[in-house]
Amino acid sequence: MGDAGAGRRRQRPLAEESAVFPATVQQLDAVHAALGRFWEAVDRAVPAAFGRHDRVARAAFLTAVGEIGANIVHHAYPRGAPGTVRLRLRLYPDRVELRFSDRGRPFADAKPRRDREPLVQDADVFALAEGGRGLALAGLALDELRYHRTPGGQNRWRLVKRLA
């Protein structure tokens, strides 16, 4: 991905975890399982990696990972189209990072327009949207969220949460 500087590439992860899973809604279990294994590896490498806000930061990262994972299986591969998603989780001295990659539809085509609306825009309960908040939510929960479509036809997502 173009956003990863040369300095970052030289960094060695302190802990890592990866998974490849079929792009179906039911297989979102694999995302949660991989994140669970990753936190165990993080705890061995750097206990309470996020400092005194560790629980909140992990909850925020989980929130974003779940939203982007759901977005991929829902939009990149609609209606059960075959495909796989790869995820790689890494702990660096200054951050945790997750990269998703898949060969589904480009995200720009799949993005629902209501994702661009504010999260809760109205005190009127009946005006509240019942969907389409996912991407905005992931952005709020993270320090960095990037999407990139490669010339080779891959979707790549990079999710970053900085350590305290």
């Binding site: 809604v25 979102l28 909140v56 809760v120 309960v125 949207a129 939510l137």
Partner: protein, 112 residues
Amino acid sequence: MQLTVDPRPGGVAVVRLVGRLDLPVAPAVKDRLAQTVASGNPRLVVDLGEVSFVDSSGLGALIGGLKAARLHGGDLRIARPADQARLILGLTTLDRVLQVHGTVEEAVAGYG
């Protein structure tokens, strides 16, 4: 995801969820909330004490339940949200719309 409905007096129902409240289960949860309201229990208490993860689809199900409840003169209140549920309710500012309680009994008592 497991869902159990515990009807209480006064049109109150405690809906206990266990597992993840996310994209795969959100439509079914929304339907159950609407059914609970339609069967005469518009005062919902959704117990999130055993829910490890809520995503935006799950929130959508809760909002759907809230709308159904309000249409029937009731409400949807949240009890015992764990760290991640509390966080997502705050990030979306839905905690301004949905009353959040520390215990199920407190939420039930709130209906008076």
